[in-house]
Structure formats: structure tokens, C-alpha cells
């Protein structure tokens, strides 16, 4: 039989990079935590293989009928492993230019083609309200060749017209995803304009309500959308944000996004952080692949412990920067400054403790050896620089918009310097489209008089992308 009583879980590993040595009286402990999840032999290597010598794929019945043999289903027999909702902006502006709507339709079709057999999916057209395009009736369809064909057929009905209220799209996606007990629940959201027909607070409230219920990638197509809105959606819903300035690039981007979503194997993973009594968590940031401050997302998890949500994981690796201030101890003492564990809720385990997937220890050792205590760990130094880089770009671009040339030049110059020093070539290239670089090492730049809007928005959207330490 091809049913897995429990899907093979991916293997997580935690590596800690730090200089544990503190000088006498030192309190601040910094560490880079690398979390890597590798395929557990489940369904990541390719599309799930249907049970051998089994009945043919059940005939299409329109709704959640006979997919008991759906590959990838977990042990409970008939729930899909993953569910995904595609939200396509169909506001009136999608008609300008008309190719935008066509590319969006093509991109959605490509994404549907990428949905693996057995995965529940749905398509929502977004305007000032949300309209289910496929399959309808507040349901999700289970992907198979027939359903994919029908879904693509349904995309023909997508036509521009109406306003933009992204919160309503997300609420609809939440309803749809809530109708399944799939472990991995994911959204893909495409917008081309500002969230004009909805109060910002409304979107904020919806994001707060949806956080932790599903993850969502957000894309802005063209250049008429608001960077902070799109990046804010992705940040709140633990997904990625990007710009697709040219609508022709949508198909490739959607395909890639859906592939990544299909590769997710475990959802609702949290970074659990234990710190000793008297310690304070200065910050917890994701620093690779992008900078994301998680400090405020803490959910208390027992004495001196808190959980920071990380969303769902496939075959990937992320880095986190932890900064903890511990009570100083005498020279010669050693203290556990933090214990990191990756946890996820036990399936059906209401009230039972979450299972720990991997652990790592962050230590503090007080020494009178100054050479030891003043050395900075290369990983910590690198990501401190990457976080400053993201910050400098943000501040520089804001100053530029507000006409503060001096501040913009200083900040973007610093960003150029940091990007070059850390080998972040992608960001360096994006910066070079906004400023003329006079001296990389010194960070001397001059603001370009004319900057393409797409370049500006690309830099802003991707400012948080980091590179890893050169090994």
C-alpha cells in the first residue's frame, strides 16, 4: 500500500555560530542559528507517486469526492497534504495595458499546472470583493489532470473590472483553506495596484487574523502597487515578496512560487527560544534568505520560553540572528544563554507538548582573556552587516522620496559599501541603478537624477535579501 501512516518528516538540523566568550561583566550574547531542513524521503523529490497497481485516478466529480487514494494524503485517509489558493488581481487597472491581464491569466494557468496531484487548490479573482473562480461553492478541488484542465478553462472568465480590497481576498482564502485539514496551507497573491478600496487598518486586521492560519507569497506586477503593502502581506504571512515589473515575467515567477509551495513538507514550525532567568531577548531576526525581524512575534511558551513562528519548510536553510542579554557571571563561569529548538504542534495532539525537531545551544563563557572575548564571530559580523545593509537601503530610499538628498546619499552610500564588502552582488547591482557609485570602498555615491520606477521599487522590495557568509 502506498499510504503512509505518518509522512516521513523532513530532518531538521540546527547549527550555532557564536563566540561564547564574554569579558568580565559582559552581558550580550550574539549567535547566528542556521536551521536546515532536508527532505525526509517523503514527497519532495518529485510529484507524489500514485499507489502502484491501483485503480485509475477517480473520475472527476467536481468536488471533494473520491480522492481517497490521492497520493500524498496523510494517514487519516482522505485529507490532502497541502492546499493552495491563488488570488489574482482582477481590478480595472489590470486592463492597462491589456497584456497585464493576459499575462496574469497565463501565469495562473502555469501555476495550476505546477500543482501536484492530490493537492487541494482553488482560484480566487480579487477586486473590491473576492470571487471564487474555481471550483466554487466555498470548496477546494483536488488536483488531477481533469481538475487542472477545468481550472484553466475557468480562468477565461477572469476579466478586469472593479476596485482593490486585498483584505477580502485574504479572508476568502482563509475560508477556503479552513475547509480542509491539509497541514500545509498556502496562498499566492498577485496585485497590480494599491489597496485602495479598503482602510489600511482593515488589511492589518485581516493579516493579524490570518497569521498562523496559512502562509502567503505576495507579488506586485507593474509599478503601480505599494511596496510596503506587498512586503507587509508576505511578512505577516511568512511568505516571500517580490516585484514582477514586466508582466511577461509572471509565468516563470508563478511556476517557481508554486514549485516552492509544493516542496513544503512541514507547516507551522516555530523557533522556540529558552533563555535563563534574568535574561532579555534583545532581538530575534531571520537574516537569510531575507532579513525579517521576528522579535515582536513572540508567543510565550512556558517558563522563560517563547515561540517565534517560521511558517512551513521544504528543503531549505534559513539563518537567524539571536541577541540575548544575560546576567553577567564571574570569570570562569559558563552559562547557557539560550536554547534553540524547532518545534511543531503534534498532529491531533491537543494539549500535548509540541515535538522538537532539532536543538541548539547558545553559550556564554566569561573569561579574562581579552583576545578571546573581543573576537567577533564571522557569521555574526556578516549578518550584522547584512541587517545594516537592509536598514540603510530603506532609510536611504525614504530620504530620497522625501527630498533629503544628503541623508539619502549618505545612507545609500553606506549600503553600496556594505553590499560590496559582504559580496551581496544582487543588491549591489540594484543599488547601482539608483545611485552612481564613485568609490565602492569608501561608499561615495551620487544620486541618479532619473531612476526608473521599476528599479526603485525592485531595490525597495529586495532590500532585505541577504547573502550567506562566503565559506
Amino acid at each position: 500500500m502506498a499510504h503512509f501512516s505518518t509522512p516521513d518528516a523532513p530532518r531538521f538540523s540546527v547549527e550555532v555560530y557564536q563566540n561564547a566568550c564574554l569579558p568580565e561583566g559582559g552581558r550580550e550574547v550574539n549567535a547566528i542559528i542556521t536551521v536546515t531542513s532536508s527532505a525526509g524521503g517523503g514527497a519532495t523529490a518529485g510529484p507524489p507517486i500514485p499507489g502502484p497497481a491501483h485503480e485509475p485516478i477517480p473520475a472527476y466529480e467536481g468536488v471533494l469526492g473520491g480522492y481517497e487514494d490521492a497520493p500524498g494524503a496523510s494517514g487519516r485517509g482522505c485529507s490532502p497534504r497541502a492546499a493552495v489558493v491563488i488570488m489574482v488581481d482582477c481590478s480595472g487597472s489590470m486592463d492597462y495595458p491589456a497584456t497585464k491581464m493576459r499575462h496574469a491569466r497565463d501565469a495562473t494557468a502555469a501555476a495550476i499546472d505546477t500543482v501536484r496531484d492530490g493537492v487541494a487548490f482553488s482560484v480566487v479573482a480579487g477586486t473590491h470583493k473576492a470571487v471564487e473562480v474555481f471550483p466554487g461553492d466555498g470548496q477546494l478541488a483536488i488536483a488531477d489532470p481533469l481538475n487542472r484542465a477545468r481550472a484553466k478553462e475557468a480562468l477565461r472568465s477572469l476579466s478586469p473590472g472593479g476596485g482593490t480590497a486585498i483584505g477580502t481576498w485574504l479572508l476568502q482564502a482563509d475560508l477556503l483553506l479552513g475547509s480542509t485539514d491539509a497541514a500545509i496551507r498556502h496562498g499566492i497573491l498577485l496585485t497590480d495596484g494599491r489597496n485602495e478600496h479598503e482602510e489600511p487598518q482593515r488589511l492589518r486586521a485581516v493579516l493579524d487574523a490570518c497569521a498562523g492560519r496559512f502562509t502567503c507569497d505576495a507579488r506586485g506586477v507593474g509599478t503601480d502597487w505599494e511596496v510596503e503593502e506587498v512586503t507587509g502581506i508576505a511578512a505577516a504571512l511568512l511568505g516571500t515578496a517580490d516585484i514582477v515589473a514586466d508582466p511577461a515575467g509572471l509565468t516563470a515567477d508563478f511556476t517557481r512560487m508554486m514549485e516552492t509551495a509544493m516542496g513544503k513538507e512541514v507547516a507551522d514550525v516555530s523557533l522556540r527560544l529558552w533563555t535563563p532567568k534574568g535574561a532579555e531577548v534583545a532581538y530575534v531576526k531571520q537574516v537569510a534568505p531575507t532579513v525579517e525581524d521576528l522579535t515582536a512575534r513572540r508567543v510565550e511558551a512556558g517558563p522563560r520560553a517563547g515561540d517565534y513562528p517560521t511558517g512551513s519548510w521544504g528543503d531549505e536553510s534559513r539563518d537567524y540572528h539571536l541577541c540575548v542579554r544575560v546576567p553577567a557571571a564571574e570569570v570562569g563561569q559558563e552559562m547557557l544563554a539560550a536554547r534553540i529548538s524547532l518545534v511543531r504542534p503534534v498532529p491531533d495532539g491537543v494539549g500535548s507538548p509540541p515535538s522538537s525537531l532539532a536543538r541548539g545551544l547558545v553559550r556564554a563563557v566569561w573569561t579574562s582573556d581579552l583576545a578571546a572575548s573581543t573576537a567577533m564571530n564571522p557569521q555574526v559580523a556578516h549578518y550584522t552587516g547584512q541587517a545594516e545593509l537592509a536598514q540603510a537601503i530603506k532609510q536611504g530610499m525614504n530620504a530620497r522620496k522625501s527630498g533629503d538628498t544628503e541623508q539619502a546619499t549618505a545612507k545609500l552610500g553606506r549600503a553600496v559599501q556594505l553590499a560590496a564588502a559582504s559580496g551581496n552582488e544582487d543588491t549591489a547591482k540594484l543599488l547601482a541603478k539608483v545611485v552612481d557609485v564613485l568609490d565602492v570602498a569608501a561608499g561615495t555615491v551620487r544620486l541618479k537624477a532619473k531612476v526608473a520606477e521599476a528599479d526603485e521599487m525592485t531595490l525597495e522590495t529586495r532590500s532585505t535579501k541577504t547573502v550567506r557568509v562566503k565559506k
Binding site: W274, T275, P276, K277, G278, A279, P303, R304, V326, P327, A328, A329, E330, V331, G332, Q333, E334, M335, L336, A337, R339, L361, R363, A364, V365, W366, T367, S368
Partner: protein
């Protein structure tokens, strides 16, 4: 003796005057370290006598450092570089299978200088060991152990229940109180919890201990096996402690007892000090101590000449440490000049004691001292450091006082490890003419009792009958002095007592 003292309860945090909760290690209000204040309070509560003893010891140390004698040039105690059998050696009682040449009264066989006091201590200098005065060797049955506290039951003063350790297993002592000296130290020392059951954190007294050995409440590292180790066999004991300023113990030791082919007892102690500037010094010292001990344990019962056996044991220890460097695996290929740059390394000092002969071997700056029972006769240092200071003195370039005042004094010039230039084990044999103990130790101890006289003053008078207690007292001596380094000391009574060997 002092039990594990709890830190006196402070009525208010010294920093912010917030009343602390019972057992709190840090002030809840301001985070100040309450144990420092507690330790001060504990110190104040100490008996005046103990304080007097301690300050006296410190005073002596200062004083003695000031008037070190001129660099010793003569080697009164005979030793032989080439410990091969020599035909006209000493035969103490007719059944010694091999002969040693132990009597040469002139300078050392290979240019090493040794403390001339060793000669005086170990036997009348005018009457070298090879002379017919040999009957000075104490009659073993006269050793009055029976009338004293039995070796196997040293009454650990820490009150752990007093299980006598009669085998070679090294164990973590829950209580390392070593007499009056350590009283104040233990109050502030989180590694020494008050009972056998280490259920609560030794630092905050509240949290339980997680699987990694840290308190789940305050995060403080708990005692690890090597933080404090003690071991006792019949006729030999050793103690090792992390000290107060290092976060782990990079010293290691091994003690063992066996029998020569003729059934006579032989006792072995090995002490090693990991070189902190190298990688994995703790592994280096452990590997070296184990390898040397195993080598001696194999060769001595087969009748190997002790000095030869010692030489081979040190080479075996060196091989064991060298092989650690290979374990590092896929390290990037290094340039010739910096190969093995950080290879694990350690010192070694070892003593082999039989009923009549005392053999010492060493590389590095760990030392052995001779401390006779009769304290009116002089003690002696039996080793010569492989250190910058010792080389300066030996070369006549500096006085001992000058050399040891230099910051390079403790840089060692010989060690076990893959990056050692050449392996030159030093060995020496002595034939003491009276009972006493050999103190085998790392610089964590001798930094606080450098001269033989200072060491002798620190060694309890009953060291020979209660070696474990003495080892504990000496560790306490180092901790009281500041405990700036790991401390390890083995006490080997001379002569080796018959009928007690072989228990290992």
C-alpha cells in the same frame, strides 16, 4: 570539617537593596550577582584561624618568591638518561632483577640541572644511593599505617557519605571541600552542590538540570565529570579541579597500582595539563594520561626497567596525543610552516614508585616534588620544567627570580603533541632513604607553592597515610590562592606499600 556551606542569606541586594528571594543567585530587581556578596559574607564568617592560615600561606609564597636561591647547577640526585641495565648497579635486597645506576652524585646525565636540594632530601648527599647505606630504605612493615586511618576510608570531609573509593574509577566528587581552606570558596562555587543528588542547580539552588548539564532556570553550567575528579587506590590518590577562572578542566590524571614480577607493589601516577592555546587540550591530556598509564601498567608487571618503561610510556602518550591531530579530519591542507598549528597538546609528569625506587618522567612544566614524612629533613623538586624560565636559568642568562618574573616564564618549550619539535622525555630515578610522598602536579598547584619548601608546608603531615585527603587539601590550597588555572595533584606515598597493590 566544613560541610557545603550555603551562601549566607543576604537581607538585601548590595546594589539596589531589593530583598532577594531564598536561593536567588541574581537579584530579581537589578540582576546583581548575589553570590559575590554572599561569598564575601561567607568569608567574613570563616574562622579566624582559617583566615590566618591562608594569609600566612600567601605571605610565605611572596616571601619565598623573593629569596629563591641562585640557579641550581649541581645535580645531587643521580639520574640516568639511558636507563638500560647497568651491571654495577644497586641491589637493595638481592632480588632486584635489574640494576640501576642511581648513585652518580655529579651533574645530571644529560645536562639538565636539578634542584640540589633533591639530593639532600632523598638521601644524605655524602652517601649516594649506591653506597652500602642502602638499609636506610625503610622497612616496609614499619610503616605504621595500621595504626592510622585506613587508606581506604579517608573520611571525605565534604560529607558525601564517606564511601571509600577503593578502585581506580575516577569520579566526580559531589563535595570537594578539602578542609578548612575551601570553606569560603564553596559558598560561591556553583559546581559544588550540597548533596549527592544533583537535582537542583548548584548556582541558583532552584532550577532543575537539563540534559545538557545546564540549569533550566538560570542557565548556569553544572558540574561536569571533569570539573572535579578524585581517585584513590590503596597507596595512591589524586584530585583534579577546574579551578575558579577556567570554564573547563583541561587537566587529566591517572593512578594505578600493580605488582612487579616478584610480587612487589608498584604504584603509578600520571598527571597531564592540556595546552590551552591548542585545540582540544582536554582531549589531549586525557589521552596522554590514559596512554601512559596503560603503557606502564603493561610493561612494569613484565619486569621492565622503570626508567625504560617510563620513557616508553611517555612516547606512547605522545603517540596518543599525536593521533588526536589526525582526527580533525578534513582540515584544509596547511603550509609546511604552519602544519599542525593547533594540534592538541599537553604536558605530562609521571611517578612510578616501588618499595625502594622512585622514578619520575616528564615533558613540559608539570612537576613532581619529594616531601618526606620527617619535615625536619628537606623536601625537593624532582623535575626541571621545559619552560622558558627554566631554560633561561639553565643557560645562566637570568636568575630564577628574574626569569619567573618575566611574562614569558610559563611558555613551555616541550610538550606532547603533533607540533612538538622533538620528543625528549626526561626521566630520573631516586632512592629515597626515608618515607615520604611524591607530589605529582600541574602548574595550577605549584603556582601557589613553587619551591619544595612551600610545597612541603602545604602538604598535610599525614599525607602518606591519607593521600586522598592530602590531594584534596592541596587542590584547596590552589583554589584559596585564586585557582587561576586547573589544578591537578597526585599523592604517591613512598615506599609503595606491599599487600595493597593489585587492587586495580
Amino acid at each position: 570539617m566544613s560541610q557545603m556551606p550555603q551562601p549566607p542569606q543576604l537581607s538585601a541586594c548590595p546594589t539596589c537593596t531589593e530583598p532577594p528571594q531564598a536561593g536567588d543567585r541574581y537579584c530579581d530587581q537589578c540582576g546583581a550577582d548575589l553570590t559575590v556578596a554572599s561569598a564575601l559574607a561567607a568569608e567574613a564568617a570563616l574562622s579566624a584561624e582559617a583566615i590566618a592560615d591562608r594569609s600566612d600561606a600567601r605571605g610565605n609564597l611572596q616571601e619565598a618568591r623573593g629569596d629563591l636561591p641562585e640557579a641550581p647547577r649541581a645535580n645531587g640526585a643521580a639520574w640516568s638518561t639511558h636507563p638500560g641495565p647497568e651491571p654495577d648497579g644497586y641491589e637493595p635486597d638481592g632480588h632486584e632483577p635489574d640494576d640501576y645506576e642511581l648513585a652518580a652524585p655529579a651533574s645530571g646525565g644529560y645536562g639538565q640541572v636539578a634542584d640540589p636540594r633533591a639530593a639532600a632530601a632523598l638521601g644524605a648527599p655524602e652517601a649516594p644511593f649506591g653506597a652500602p647505606e642502602a638499609p636506610q630504605v625503610p622497612q616496609v612493615p614499619q610503616v605504621p599505617q595500621a595504626s592510622q586511618a585506613p587508606l581506604g576510608a579517608p573520611e571525605p570531609p565534604g560529607g558525601t557519605g564517606g564511601h571509600p573509593e577503593t578502585n581506580a574509577s575516577t569520579h566526580t566528587s559531589a563535595a570537594s571541600s578539602t578542609g578548612s581552606g575551601t570553606g569560603p570558596g564553596t559558598g560561591a562555587d556553583p559546581r559544588l552542590p550540597g548533596g549527592e543528588h544533583r537535582l537542583r542547580c548548584a548556582a541558583c539552588q532552584e532550577g532543575t538540570i537539563d540534559q545538557d548539564g545546564y540549569c533550566e532556570r538560570c542557565g548556569h553550567a553544572q558540574a561536569r565529570e571533569r570539573d572535579h575528579m578524585e581517585s584513590e587506590l590503596d597507596g595512591v590518590a589524586a584530585a583534579s579541579d577546574r579551578g575558579l577562572r577556567h570554564h573547563r578542566n583541561e587537566d587529566a590524571f591517572s593512578v594505578s597500582a600493580s605488582a612487579l614480577p616478584d610480587g612487589a607493589p608498584v604504584v603509578v601516577a600520571v598527571v597531564c595539563d592540556g595546552v590551552s592555546s591548542a585545540t582540544r587540550p582536554d582531549e589531549a591530556s586525557a589521552a596522554a594520561a590514559l596512554a601512559a598509564s596503560q603503557a606502564l601498567g603493561a610493561s612494569l608487571p613484565r619486569g621492565a626497567h622503570p626508567q625504560q618503561a617510563m620513557n616508553e610510556a611517555i612516547i606512547a602518550a605522545a603517540d596518543a596525543v599525536n593521533s588526536l591531530a589526525l582526527d580533525t579530519g578534513a582540515a584544509a591542507p596547511r603550509h609546511e610552516g604552519q602544519r599542525h598549528q593547533n594540534a592538541p597538546a599537553c604536558t605530562i609528569v609521571s611517578a612510578v614508585v616501588t618499595s625502594d625506587i622512585l622514578t619520575i618522567g616528564w615533558i613540559g612544566d608539570s612537576r613532581a616534588y619529594w616531601v618526606p614524612d620527617d619535615r625536619t629533613t628537606p623536601p625537593a623538586r624532582l623535575t626541571e620544567d621545559d619552560s622558558w624560565a627554566a631554560q633561561m636559568v639553565a643557560a645562566g642568562l637570568m636568575s630564577e627570580a628574574e626569569a619567573y618574573a618575566d611574562e614569558r616564564a610559563h611558555a613551555i618549550t616541550g610538550w606532547l603533541g603533533a607540533d612538538a619539535y622533538e620528543l625528549e622525555p626526561h626521566t630520573a630515578s631516586y632512592k629515597p632513604d626515608r618515607p615520604g610522598v611524591v607530589v605529582v602536579c600541574t602548574d595550577g598547584l605549584w603556582n601557589y607553592a613553587e619551591s619544595a619548601e612551600q610545597m612541603a608546608r602545604a602538604v598535610p603531615p599525614d599525607a602518606r597515610s591519607r593521600p586522598l585527603n592530602s590531594a584534596q587539601v592541596l587542590v584547596g590550597h590552589a583554589l584559596d590562592g585564586g585557582g587561576h588555572d586547573n589544578v591537578t595533584v597526585a599523592i604517591v606515598p613512598f615506599p609503595a606499600a606491599p599487600g595493597r597493590a593489585g587492587s586495580a
